[in-house]
């Protein structure tokens, strides 16, 4: 009954709202299926946004405000879930955004700079802490010009003050130079410098800093230079020597060497050194030129320097850099002396001649004394002359030379009237060195000695012991740097070769002592290296012993001093011995050959107590 009623209702509904029902069903389906909804929204969203845009600023702001929480949430979720995706999306637009903020608004760009400052500071700090080299190499070509600019500004101010002061001085040259400055429009000080300086850069060396290898060398015409490769390396060696000898900091290196009229200016870059030999007084701006050239070469040859493997061709084929520094400046020609000056000189000479007869004869006697001094062997004159009305003479003399003070008598001078300052020295002539060597060594009749440069050459027959002794003794004569035994026949009574080797090895092993600091029972790195060598010697020793059927045992003696408790000291000694034992075994020594013993030595004082804290080895032959 109920079913029949329902069907009737349906039929009636179809007749009344048939089409509308279909539409309602479709609407329900559309609303209930999200994918339909998304498609539709996607179709209309651009149009909606356009419309909002068209409706003006207020609608746009309302829309943005409404979207803000959702967008923020979405970004947050994206960052948490998958930061990489967001980073990838951002990396392509980030540079553009920064550029845009700079172009669009000064305020924005300042804000950006302010917020980035702590990160940039931290990054620079980290970079310098980890490795200062990349940053300093990058900055090197920039920082030099910047500093120079600052210094130049400061000096310009000083120059102006100096110009004012000099302008006030009155001399003929000053007037002349001031006129030159006026006509040329150059600063007065520059003109003064130009008129007084006289210099020439005679040679330039471009040197690879790490290896000391010469990259390029140029010299002024008519300059006789020696092998530049060798000079370059030696310059580097001298620099190293100075740095090491005087514990100079790494970035403070030898920058000037003065020899007579020549000065060697050495400018350092991170990878190359520019050394210039300058004759005379060069202005400081020449040095600035050297520095600029060095910076330019670093910049232009960045890659060649980074990959340098000894190939100097790229540098040799570009000589223009150094050529620009090969400068010279000649002094003005000597001026003619005016007639008035000649007359004054003549009058002075006449007066001197009239009054100076005695004085002249005294000078004559003095000259002959000085002439004689210069011919006496073993005397080197440093200075002589007349000061405050008294003659003086200063020099060096060997102990066996003639006495220069008593020689004064021969020239009718009172010894007390002359200030004589003589210092003793040892003369370095080859004959003297050789005679000292003979005296020191007392060689047997079968040996003859000769000296070539600084090498003492031995010829003839001598015993091994004497040669060993001679080698030690000769070190006291510091002028001898090498000894040459190549022409010596050694007189020996020989044991079979490996037995001799055994004795030598045993001595080397037993002579090795390992010291320990207080309360430390491990060996230092240096001592560990030593232990490795001793272990190699022991292995070799063991091999020879086996070959000759010799049985042996090695005792490792750990020593402590007698201060404190006996049990404790014994333990210390044993721990020291064990430390050495472990290292020897690690380095391949057979455990069975080793045994450990602890020793206590009487405590005397603090110094000897240090030598008590040690371990050493003793070898005993068992069946010999």
């Amino acid at each position: 009954m109920t079913n029949q009623k329902n069907n009737e209702w349906d039929e009636l509904r179809t007749l009344l709202v048939g089409q509308e029902k279909v539409d309602v069903d479709r609407l329900v389906e559309f609303l209930e299926n999200p994918s339909y909804m998304e498609e539709r929204i996607a179709e209309i969203l651009p149009q909606v946004i356009n419309l909002i845009n068209k409706n003006g600023q207020t609608s746009l702001e309302q829309f943005a405000k409404a979207l803000q929480p959702s967008v923020e949430k979405a970004i947050l979720a994206s960052t948490n879930d998958d930061p990489r995706t967001l980073s990838e999306a951002l990396h392509s637009i980030l540079p553009n955004s920064i550029n845009l903020s700079r172009e669009k608004s000064q305020e924005l760009s300042e804000q950006l700079a302010e917020s980035l400052t702590p990160f940039v500071e931290k990054a620079v700090k980290n970079s310098t802490q980890m490795n200062i080299k990349p940053l300093s190499e990058g900055l090197y070509p920039v920082i030099g010009p910047a500093i120079r600019k600052a210094v130049a500004t400061a000096f310009k101010k000083i120059n102006q003050t100096l110009n004012q002061n000099l302008n006030q001085t009155i001399s003929i040259s000053a007037f002349k130079w001031r006129f030159q400055a006026f006509t040329s429009g150059k600063p007065f000080l520059d003109i003064v410098a130009r008129n007084t300086l006289d210099y020439q850069v005679t040679q330039l060396f471009l040197i690879h800093r790490e290896t000391g290898l010469l990259l390029q060398h140029i010299e002024a015409p008519n300059i006789a230079s020696r092998d530049a490769d060798l000079v370059s390396a030696m310059l580097k060696a001298i620099q190293d020597f100075v740095t090491d000898s005087f514990s100079i900091k790494k970035n403070e290196e030898l920058s000037t060497i003065e020899v007579g009229d020549h000065t060697i200016w050495i400018e350092q870059g991170p990878q190359i050194i520019l050394a210039g030999v300058v004759f005379g007084n060069a202005p400081l701006d020449l040095r600035e030129k050297f520095i600029k050239t060095l910076e330019q070469i670093h910049l232009d040859f960045f890659k060649e320097l980074a990959d340098f493997n000894g190939d100097t061709e790229p540098f040799e084929s570009n000589p223009q850099y150094l050529k620009n520094c090969l400068l010279k400046q000649e002094k003005q020609g000597t001026q003619k002396i005016s007639k008035a000056k000649w007359i004054i000189v003549a009058i002075i000479l006449a007066i001197a001649g009239y009054f100076g007869g005695d004085r002249y004869r005294e000078f004559d006697r003095w000259s002959s004394y000085i002439d004689q001094l210069e011919t006496v062997p073993g005397i080197i004159l440093i200075d002589e002359g007349r000061k405050n009305g008294r003659f003086f003479v200063k020099g060096l003399r060997t102990r066996d030379s003639l006495n220069p003070i008593t020689m004064l008598d021969d020239h009718q001078f009172n010894q007390q009237d002359v200030n004589s300052a003589w210092t003793f020295f040892q003369f370095l002539s080859p004959e003297m060195i050789l005679s000292r060597a003979k005296k020191t060594l007392s060689p047997p009749d079968t040996i003859s000695l000769t000296l070539k440069d600084a090498t003492l050459i031995f010829k003839g027959i001598a015993s091994k012991d004497w040669l060993d002794q001679a080698q030690k003794t000769i070190k006291s004569i510091w002028e001898i740097s090498e000894i040459d035994f190549s022409e010596v026949q050694i007189k020996t009574v020989k044991a079979p070769i490996s037995l001799r080797m055994l004795t030598q090895l045993k001595k080397e092993i037993e002579d090795s002592v390992f010291y320990f600091p207080v309360s430390i029972f491990a060996l230092s790195k240096v001592q560990q290296r030593k232990a490795k060598m001793v272990a190699e010697n022991i292995s070799l020793f063991a091999k020879y012993c086996t070959e000759h059927d010799i049985k042996f045992s090695i005792i490792i003696k750990g020593v402590a001093d007698s201060q404190g408790k006996k049990e404790l000291n014994e333990r210390y000694g044993r721990q020291r011995a064990e430390a050495l034992y472990n290292l020897l075994v690690e380095n391949g020594v057979n455990k069975d050959d080793l045994s450990i013993r602890s020793f206590i030595e009487a405590f005397q004082d603090r110094t000897s107590s240090q030598s008590n804290r040690r371990a050493n080895l003793e070898i005993t032959y068992i069946n010999q």
Binding site: D227, D229, A237, N309, G310, A454, S481, E482, S486, I490
Partner: protein, 166 residues
């Protein structure tokens, strides 16, 4: 032009300087050894039809290796360790020097020159010991300052080794 810095190391009086004297170009006196501890010479060798300039730092030998100035080794592309065949302790010093060099500049090619090859009958260093070194991978050349034996070969060999590992 290829240039390489090489060093010559060895105990006192093993004859380093005498060994190369007649083979190198030299402008400095041997007194530099006692003053700054190094003397510099040059040797030009031919490798595969091109010339290589070897700048030789002849470093003054000391019995205690600590005395050698480590800075002289910086930038070295290869080195000679010189031993006196008639004095076994010079081998021990050479081993220490080798370790010292390794600590300071790392591993670069080197050749051991055993000097006084003309006095073989007086050698303290025995063949077994040399075999042991060869096993360790050391390249050995017997040389004589008196006859010049082995010296030219040593320079060539070292230049070859250095150029192989560009």
């Amino acid at each position: 032009m290829i240039k390489k810095k090489i060093c010559m190391l060895g105990s006192f009086a093993v004859g380093k300087t005498s060994l190369v004297r007649q083979f190198v170009d030299s402008i400095f006196s041997e007194k530099y050894h006692t003053s700054i501890g190094v003397k510099i010479d040059k040797k030009v060798v031919r490798v595969d039809d091109s010339e290589v300039n070897l700048i030789l730092w002849d470093i003054h030998g000391e019995d205690e290796f600590q005395k050698i100035q480590a800075s002289y080794l910086t930038g070295t592309s290869g080195y000679f360790l010189v031993i006196d065949g008639t004095r076994s302790n010079t081998l021990a010093v050479a081993k220490e020097l080798n370790q010292f060099t390794l600590n300071h500049i790392g591993s670069v090619p080197f050749i051991v020159l055993i000097n006084k090859a003309d006095l073989l009958s007086d050698w303290e260093i025995i063949d077994e010991e040399l075999d042991l070194l060869k096993e360790k991978g050391w390249e050995l050349i017997k040389t004589s300052a008196k006859t010049g034996e082995g010296v030219e070969e040593a320079f060539k060999q070292l230049a070859n080794k250095m150029l192989e590992i560009k």
